[in-house]
Each structure stands twice: as C-alpha cells, then as structure tokens.
Symmetry: C2
Subunit: 276 residues, 2 copies
C-alpha cells in the first residue's frame, strides 16, 4: 500500500460502499485489470451508510480530483437511493455496480429488491458465516498433518511435499469458501515405504494433491533454509518425482501450484467436491 | 453445498467466468442478497476459456432451465467477445458484468481495454501474489502468540481474550489482503499484572483489539470445552471486562466481533493502517 501513496498516479479510483467495500474493490480490480499501463491510486471508502457520510465522501472525491487535475473514477455498490443520489453529485465518472443488475432481476423475479443497506450484517449471524469461522479454526488445527483427530470431518485433505502450497490453499479454501481443508505432508519416509501416510488411506476419496516444479520448490525452500540439503535442487527433484509417482499410483487427482494460483486450485477443488 | 442440491430451488443462477468465477460469484451474491424469499440454486462454471467450453456451458444452462421449468440467471465476467457471444445464446437472463463498465472506462481513459482472458494467470507470478502467500505463512506462524520472532515484521497485531475472533480475522487479513497479521491472547495473568504481555509494548502502534460480549463468548467457549470454568459466564464476564479496561488504559483501538463480521473488522483495520 505505501507505494500507492508515494508514486505519481494518473487517476484516483474510489470504491464506495455502505458495507466493507470488498465487493466493489474485488470487482473493480477485475475490470481495471483490463486496462494496461495506467497508474491508478485505488482507495476504499467503506461504511458510507448515512447522508452525512455521503456528503463527506463527495467532498473527499472532489478534493482528490482537484489535486489530480483529473476527475476520479467511482465504483459504487451503494443501494440506498438517497445516499446514492448524493454520491452521484460528485465530479467523477460514477459507475453504479448495482442499478444495472437490480432492474432486470426485479423484472425477472417479479418482486422488488429490498434496497437494504448493510446486508452484510445479517450474514454475520448466519449459518454460513459460522461455518466459515469453524472451517478456519479447523484448517489451522489440521495444517501440516498436526492433528489426526477429527480428520474425518474434513471436506478435503491436501497432500504434497513440504512447501508445495498446501497451507495457503487450505486457508484460502477455509476463509473464502468455508471448506474444512486439512493438509498433510508427503515426506521422504513415505517415499521409502512407497506408500501414503497410513492414516490417509481411510480418507482416500478426500485426498487432493499439489505439486510444484523442482526448480521453483528449491527456490522457495532456499528462502527458508538457505544452502540446506532440504532445499537442494537434487533433493527437491527426488521428492517431487517420488510424490508425483505416489499420487499417480494411488489415483489422487493433483494440480501444480507453479502454474496455478491458489484461487485456481481452490476453484478446481470445489468443482471436484461438487461432483461427488 | 449439499443442501443446495437436495432442496427445491425456484431458480438456478450460474456464475460464468474465464477464470475462477470468484469475482462473478462474490458480486452476484451481493446483488442477489437484495432479493428475499427466493430459493436459488447457485452454480459456478469456471474456466470457460474456449469456444468448445462455452458451447458445453450453454447446453448445461439450457438443460437446467428445462429441469427447473424457468430460465436460469447467468452472471458473466467473460471478456472474450466470441466466447461471450456464444454464451449469450443460452436461454437465460444474461447479466454481463463487464460490458457495462468497460465501455465508459475506455471513453474516460481514452484507451482500449485488452479484452484479455485469464488475466488472473499473470497475477500468480506477481509481487502482490507472493506477498499474500508470505502473509498467510506469517499469520499462521504468529497465531495465538506462538512466536515472538519476526513480530516486528507484522503489519498488525490483534489482541483479545481467547476465542474473541482473533484467529479468523488474522487469517482473513492475510488471505484476502496480504496483510501480515499476528495475534496475541490476553490471558488472566495479564489481568492480574494489569499490563499487556511485555513483548507487545514495543509494537504498541500495531496493536488492534477485539472484544466480544461475555454471553456470546461463553457460548463459543462451551462448544469447545463444555462445562469448564474457562467457559463459564462468570469467568467470561471477568475476562472481557478486564481486557476492555486494559485496552482502554493502553489506548488500543478495538471492535467487537459480536456485532461485526471479520470482513467489517478487516475493513476497519485496513483503514487504520492506511491512516498511518
């Protein structure tokens, strides 16, 4: 974040919301990534849930436009029509991320939208929310094969060599999707025995593998333990080859974290889980 | 997910994307939450990045419409115009989440969008992505005051009584925002001494507190350790009062996880971090 404030930006983009602004920001990023070579300063204006706050936000946006010498871009997920009305008075390119969709859906469903602000509050008390919190605790407790207890409650168990991306993927699945994702390392002992860790056989259908190129693995491991045998390219090659051979023999589906992001791996895991 | 498949839904909603579909889904959820009382079956169709896959997706959507007896809703973040063209042939209410925004932005910026599919792939190699992965490892390692080493590298250190929401909030900040969020428990010993854990004083400016109502805390703790003194309402009351008094004395900003979701707490933490 600091570099956004110090380097010169062509434009300022505001993500304005009556809630956290995360939806506006996620979506806005995705749209803006279609434009290359622009220096954009991106700022979130969350919790704009009153007429006063809206007026204040308009001042803030206009002031920024004067500083920049160009009008800002505003991505808005405001749903309250009065607050929205004030915001539209800002000297900015106003992109309403709600209005264009709510209208057609009202016609399609034959009902009116609630236009309720702070819909998110309701979510905090929902079953789905509780499930996510529980999944985060579960995935933390079942990181790196730490705990065998309650492994039967996992939705998925990621396997792979150390530093192949299991931990970030597990936590992403938990935080973002409320999936109880355990992960379990494949280590040299397993390769000597030529078998999966014994405890995993009973959960065979829940296993999903992650792999990584030996080169990338060596790089990642060198950052942790520079110059160690653990990080050597030769050792990484052996571990990756053995792990892939093992997963192939056991019929475990797998993906490479070298070429896929955690979001992409997570999307694949979700698709597999839904198929079952 | 299972209940979505077994209960009868009024409609099916598809989130169609050339990437993971996460943006389409997040945004779609937020729009759909404006409509109450509908039973919606929500399905993600990720990685639609070829004409063949688009054709297959159209069949899938049409088949679902026949089963439901009503045309499905399609939220699309497809950017390739040919793929998009095929998808628009589906018998569905097609909501294009890109087109309505890209046009005005092209005019505003005076440049053409790249219309590139799979923009996300580039992200996997970016600094920002690496930073997120690193933040997840950091937050895992610094959960619950486990590790004092490298605490100086944290962006924020959450403090609060056991089960006040520190762990989920830390991991959310790491996964979603690439923030190195450590967390450190406030325990009865600290209340006896009337001081923060000694190690924290040097990081005073990074501290952010979480609190929770004693009633909710007792509930949460009872789930983990039923009938324990730790979970008793009386003990929870004492701990929460003491923790709040301590945070007040030390001038630590704080929020309640009883009334705020982790998303909302994270948004507040981000705003504070940006202010500095």
């Amino acid at each position: 974040m600091p570099e956004q404030r110090t380097r010169t930006a062509d434009r300022t983009v505001f993500f304005v919301s009556d809630g956290t602004g995360i939806t506006a920001e996620t979506f806005g990023h995705s749209i803006l990534s279609q434009f290359e070579g622009l220096q954009l300063r991106q700022l979130r204006l969350p919790f704009i849930d009153s007429l006063d706050k809206a007026t204040e936000a308009v001042h803030r946006i206009n002031r920024q436009g004067e500083i920049d010498g160009r009008r800002p871009i505003v991505f808005s997920t405001l749903v309250d029509t009065r607050i929205n009305g004030i915001m539209q008075g800002a000297d900015a390119l106003f992109l309403d991320m709600i209005a264009g969709f709510v209208g057609p859906l009202e016609a399609e469903f034959g009902i009116k939208s609630t236009h309720t602000i702070g819909r998110f509050h309701a979510v905090a008390e929902s079953e789905r929310y509780k499930q996510r919190i529980e999944a985060i605790h579960f995935s933390m407790a079942h990181d790196d094969g730490q705990m065998h207890k309650e492994l039967d409650q996992s939705d998925v168990i990621l396997v792979g060599v150390s530093r192949s991306g299991k931990t970030p993927t597990s936590l992403y699945l938990a935080v973002q999707h409320g999936i109880k994702a355990a992960n379990y390392p494949l280590i040299p002992e397993d390769f000597v025995r030529g078998k999966l860790p014994e405890v995993l056989y009973q959960y065979r259908a829940k296993l999903f593998g992650l792999t990584i190129t030996p080169e990338r693995l060596a790089e990642v491991r060198h950052e942790r333990r520079p110059g160690s045998k653990y990080a050597s390219l030769e050792n990484c090659r052996m571990e990756v080859n053995e792990a892939e051979a093992l997963m192939r023999r056991e019929g475990i589906p797998w993906l490479s974290s070298t070429t896929k992001s955690i979001e992409e791996i997570a999307a694949t895991v979700l698709t597999l889980l839904e198929l079952e």
